[in-house]
Amino acid sequence: MNANTTSISDMNSALIEPRMAYILERKLQRSKLGPYTPKTAKEIEQSLTRLFIADGLNDITISGVKRMTGGASKEQFLFQLQHSGLAEPQGYVLRMDPLEGIVETCRLREAELLQALAGSFPVPEILTVDAEGDSLGNPGLITGFVSGVTKPTSLEGQSVSGIGSSYGHYAELIAPQFLDILVKLHSWQGWADAALPNYVIPKKNSTEAALYQVNLWARTWQQDCVEPVPMVTLTEHWLRENAPVCEEPCLVHCDYRVGNFMFEEPSGQITTILDWELAHFGDFHEDLAWILQKLFGTWNAQGQFLVCGLMERDHFISEYQRLSGRKIKPDVLRYYEVLNAWKCAIMDLSSAIIAGQRANNHQDLLITWLGSAGAVFLDQIEMLLKEELPNAA
């Protein structure tokens, strides 16, 4: 841990990715345009037609627009596109921002990253992006349709967001792939040659990887705060003072978990990793700490906790180390467990609540429901900081 405590908050206040600073500022402006009404199929057809005309396509026909369920932050629609350049209609997915949601992210960054990862990772193919919503009315991204399911169709008791889902017998098939893709992601060097102008790579051997994240979420809290929460404020200061050095920043997905990948039945083959909106360059421990969260896990019939419903914690950690050749540092993992719990508390206790209050989301009911889980993360932070107590202040 870095013990340098001299005016860290002053020193690092500028450490925020410029595109993300712009996105948060844009959110402030867009939040005044509400309330938001979920889009109808007809509205989506019209928006998509405008977008494809602007992209230079001819003889456009949009059909079969169907809303996808789930998703607490983006409106998602399946549709068929036909135009003069296609022999037959093809299926695509529109992923579009409401006025505000539980997290504020950038479709342009997401598109840049998916293009960079294509061919190396199972990611959806990008068709086009409307970064500012000039044609769609809201920022949006269009990707190819990928077959598969996010949860076994035969199991009951699944949740809306995928959280709390169980994979049953698919766990054994999926777990090795889940680990393998994660390890490859963290060792991916393709970013050096990729066009990722809206990402910032933190400096090696510095605390920047952590501080970029602390600043982003601190600004989110400042912007969306509904009422003060002492634990959230305290944790921000603790995170600044204890930011660990990251020797070698890498790409981190930051929402790699149950519900965010698709697989085929009955093979259990992972077909796509979804939801790259929170991805950035940072410390691999950040992904591991996210994946290990209790909220995303389940207990099996023997009472053992399964990480993301897939495997036991010790197995996950030992296999990650074996496959990656990386050494997990317990104190850094702990730091990122605190940071992730703090991020989740901010999403739940500020962004979700205020979006629901302003009726600015297509799923006001869902984000308010998720917002009610905020104290779960406060409790988790408290437990983690108590374990650190001798060094906590």
Binding site: G164, K294, V376
Partner: protein, 183 residues
Amino acid sequence: MLPDISNRIRNLSKALETVIIPAIPADNSFAAEQAALMLGHLKMLDQQWDFAYLYEKGSFDNMLALASKLSQLAEGGGESQIAAVQTRSLIAAQPDMLPLTVNAINELTIALGKAVDKLIAAAYKDGSSAFKTAMLSSILDYNHIQSARERTWFKANNLDPDVRDLPSMEEMLNSEKYCYSAA
């Protein structure tokens, strides 16, 4: 009050369950999902509404106790001292008779929370080492109680992996165990 609030909430739930949800076409999963969430919210509201004032009053008492404790502990440079004085003034200005509505008492809690935030920021700027250590410990103790209260308040959301460890609503609202003390 006739018809009472529980009665109306349950009527709403029944209408959703027996008339509205069955009328949703099978291919409109978004509407079905929204209706299911409505039902969940209504059930949770039915468990909560009668206790809402007691819950908010408990949150106020806990935040008041935390503000009081931190203002007593504060020591260090000018920022810490000013924040402590301002917090003590705010505490002294609390009404003898608390307001009787949920929203009004929540506003008092928010004002105290802002004062606590300033004390935390001041402690990290120029607070003594002893103040910072004691502050951290106090906030962790406060959080232990207050987050247990909040998790209990919302335990019907099925999002808490440790729900089995939580007390009943009655115990959370009435037991001294869930009252943070400045002593």
